[in-house]
């Protein structure tokens, strides 16, 4: 007998699943080239789902469903809400691009992206190793199909293949690690695993052996060095609209499962996984920033920039526990800093790719940095939005990216550990290098002469959303307090149980 609370816990997921199926059917009757009916219906569904999630989240209650298999808590609900909004924005930006490239002969793009979103929901709500794994597979399988949506394009097909092979391997890593931990603790339930590990009765070697694979699997999904190889290739090869679907909302889900697995489940092993995260973070900051300098392709540059940004997220995650002492304030500081970082990163990425998508025309991809030459003369507004994104990623105040870096650095310095403070200094120096390649794009847009004098035109929905997206980066930069408090509150509530 399934109780009501279980249904309540997954109610938004049910809505999403039902509507995804309904929309797939409705789409059969849609004949317009831009699939307006499907598009509007999808956005409406997502808006309802996002509203539901926000309602759940702001109530702040934590409850479990289906025998502790899923959890509905403030952190998860906010992340799901943000992921939904991110997916809506992605679809708005993606539609004209996809329509121009024959990716909308059917409505698969909408259905697949809804299934991908459902996968993210399940990952975020999962309180059980297998549920998390199921959600991950649903997300990645939908993503493989999305990358391959442009069947006639060789690079996209190649990217899909790479993504599939490496993604499958990462899933294998994760599953293997989870099975080791299951074998050691005898449970798939995250709460039970925590209790078992915390009891100190389990053999440490087995746990750490499993942990290594879990961390490697997560590192693949987050795309951090040395498991980052697929990121540049897939970012560059995939159709830009799909790149945004992979590089945007899923980062929120990847963050959520990292918290669920490492913090909720394996916090007693913090000393072990923090060392691993530290190495991953340093590698990501180093490789991401240095490799980005050499890129001429903007999508590839942003891919490397993502790697370095994820390094910052890991820095936040690794600073929560100092010497194995779990201190509530430090935990809150560190994980809420990471959450704030991921959320603002996704928001920034959306706007940056939004501009790239906007400039792409039929038969012209606009993904080389030089394609942006003189954008300021052609369209001050979109050049401004892009500049805001770039300065934000570089961490220059008063843009929101600065506060994200500030929060992470604060968490590191607050630990009082010499090693952590040294890492903060290292991160700062790396972000100086990062500033160089972001500035280079600003330079191309503002200082160089335009190659074409053509004006940039965009459909009304794209124009409005993109402008709002850019403005939001600025507004959050002037008033970041609300989102910061929200993240802190969400993390506190999620970890309280």
């Amino acid at each position: 007998m399934i109780d009501n609370i279980s249904w309540l816990a997954i109610y938004p997921e049910i809505v999403l699943l039902t509507m995804a199926c309904v929309i797939a059917l409705v789409d059969l009757g849609v004949h317009s080239a831009r699939r307006t009916a499907t598009y509007v219906l999808t956005l409406l569904t997502l808006a309802v789902v996002a509203g539901l999630q926000a309602m759940y989240a702001s109530s702040g209650n934590t409850f479990y469903g289906f025998g502790n298999m899923v959890v509905s808590d403030a952190m998860g609900n906010w992340l799901k809400c943000f992921a939904t909004v991110a997916m809506m924005i992605t679809l708005v930006y993606a539609r004209p691009y996809a329509a121009d490239r024959g990716m909308m002969r059917g409505g698969e793009m909408f259905t697949l992206s809804m299934f991908a979103l459902l996968g993210m929901f399940i990952m975020i709500s999962g309180n059980n190793f297998l549920v998390i794994y199921l959600g991950l597979e649903l997300l990645t399988l939908s993503s493989y199909a999305l990358v391959a949506l442009r069947r006639d394009n060789a690079t996209a097909t190649e990217a899909a293949m790479k993504y599939f092979v490496l993604g499958a391997m990462a899933s294998g890593f994760l599953l293997y690690g989870l099975s080791m931990i299951y074998g050691a603790t005898g449970s798939l339930d995250i709460g039970q695993v925590f209790k078992a590990v915390n009891s100190g009765q389990i053999r440490h070697q087995v746990l750490v052996f499993g942990l290594v694979f879990v961390v490697a699997g997560l590192a693949f999904k987050l795309g951090v060095v040395p498991f980052h190889m697929w990121i540049p290739d897939v970012y560059q090869g995939a159709p830009t609209a799909v790149t945004l679907m992979i590089g945007g909302a899923p980062k929120l889900a990847a963050f959520a499962i990292t918290i669920r697995l490492l913090v909720d489940g394996l916090l007693p092993l913090a000393i072990d996984w923090q060392q691993m995260l530290a190495v991953l973070a340093i590698g990501s900051l180093l490789v991401g920033n240095l490799a980005a300098i050499a890129q001429t392709n903007l999508k590839r540059m942003l891919a490397y920039s993502t790697i370095s940004q994820m390094g910052f997220v890991l820095l936040g995650l690794m600073s929560g526990v100092v010497n194995g002492n779990v201190d509530a304030t430090a935990v809150e500081n560190a994980y809420s800093a990471s959450m704030f970082y991921v959320v603002t990163y996704v928001l920034t990425t959306l706007a940056a790719f939004g501009v790239i998508l906007l400039l792409a025309r039929e038969g012209f991809e606009s993904e080389e940095i030089s394609d942006f030459a003189g954008l300021n003369q052609r369209s001050p507004l979109y050049a401004g939005v892009m500049a805001v994104c770039l300065f934000s990623m570089a961490g220059i105040p008063p843009l929101v990216g600065f506060y994200a870096k500030l929060a992470v650095l604060q968490a590191l310095v607050a630990s009082g550990q010499t090693l952590y403070i040294a890492m903060a200094v290292f991160a700062v120096i790396m972000s100086l290098i990062g500033a160089f390649y972001y500035l280079r794009v600003v330079k191309v847009m503002y200082f160089d002469a335009p190659l074409t004098a053509s004006n940039v035109s965009a459909p009304a929905d794209v124009r409005v959303v993109l402008t709002l997206n850019g403005a939001l980066l600025l507004v959050l930069g002037l008033l970041p307090g609300g989102l910061m408090a929200l993240c802190a509150d969400a993390v506190v509530r999620a970890l309280a149980t």
């Binding site: 300021n376 003369q377 001050p380 401004g384 300065f391 220059i396 105040p397 008063p398 600065f402 506060y403 500030l406 929060a407 650095l409 604060q410 310095v413 607050a414 009082g416 403070i421 903060a424 200094v425 700062v428 120096i429 972000s431 100086l432 500033a435 160089f436 500035l439 600003v442 330079k443 503002y446 200082f447 008033l479 970041p480 307090g481 910061m484 408090a485 802190a488």
Partner: protein, 491 residues
Amino acid sequence: MGLLSLAIWAPIAFGVLLLAIGRDEHARAVRWLALVGAVVGFLVTLPLHDGFQLGTAAMQFVEKAAWIERFNIHYHLGVDGISFWFVPLTAFITVIVVVASWESITERVNQYMGAFLILSGLMIGVFTALDGMLFYVFFEATLIPMYLIIGIWGGPNKIYAAFKFFLYTLLGSLLMLIALIFLYNQSGGSFDIATWHQLPLSRTAQTLLFFGFLAAFAVKVPMWPVHTWLPDVHVEAPTGGSAVLAAIMLKLGAYGFLRFSMPIAPDASREWAWLMIALSLIAVIYVGLVAMVQKDMKKLVAYSSVAHMGFVTLGFFIFNDLGVSGGLVQMIAHGFVSGAMFLSIGVLYDRVHSREIAAYGGVVNTMPNFTAFALLFAMANCGLPGTAGFVGEWMVILGAVKANFWIGLAAATALIFGAAYTLWMFKRVYLGPVGNDNVKGLTDIDSREFLVLALLGIAVLAMGLYPRPFTDVMDTSVAELLKHVALSKLN
């Protein structure tokens, strides 16, 4: 909304408005709107002067509101005797720059004017912020408009200059960011600067903080040996950019020493004062000599800025009334004089499109009115009594002699170099027979240029003849600061 908020946000609001609605098709309207914005920005700073209470070191016109509660960051503004004069100075220079760029900028006028107005608001924010993080946000945010100003409207090598400016200053300020976060943790979660002033700190902590702040402020001032970005940037920046950079932006760094380094780490400041004095003297003497051999007028004035700012830091780190007040007066005076010097070069550059000294000669024959102004500013630059340039340098030298005769002597010799390079440049550019056809064809300044130069000329003379209003405002705050710095914070 308080007066200080108004002084910050009024120009920014006008700047954003210009960016949003301005188009080159109606450049005239854009210029007038920019002027209105700049004048409004200046007018709102005037009531500050009437309302300012002398004889107290307390912060005035204080505004405080929670900003980012999670990190206990406040929107906390206020001015004391140290920061007061920079608020109207910034707004004044912005008006000057808008008028001076009236005709020389013809492309993307709205972005140019908007950037200067926004920059003006941000710089006032730096001078009035009483919260460490608010200070940092304003301090860093100034990089964005300046980067665009140099890169879009600069000279042939503008891109190199823009990057050098941005990355050089960013490196310094990022180290300061770590210092600020460290202080936040040390003080139990506060970004309040006044709290930090009272915070006891160990010797090691003070030393680290001192050098963290030094990284940011020394680059900004700039002090020798991290001054190399300044000449490159000045040469490439448009006239307005150079003027704002020299007149205001360099002061952000010097101001930081008084607001952060000295009161927060007084023991380290005293311990390392010898280093600061040595670097300042090198700036004053060695960079003065470097200025003498420059062939490019803007480069010459840029090096002379480094030398003049050396007087400022020298004054601060000899820790007496005369020195610190002299340094502050020198900052304001240099704001007027260097701004005027760069604008004078701009007047010539607009006509001949060369900054080489050798491209001129005998300008006095064709531009007599302009040469009169140029002579005044040149005299002020060498520190002639009766001009603004004299007061600050004289006070610093007196203070230095009081502290140590030899430091005073070294600083005083620098006055000779200052006179040498300025007058030599003046002779080669303005005096003598007409040098070439370019000079022969020059037309004298029009009424707009006359207005700009006259306003600055009046300021330079007024400050030189009657510096009392400036020093009166500073006295109490400077005395209080010195009293504070003399006390040890070691625990």
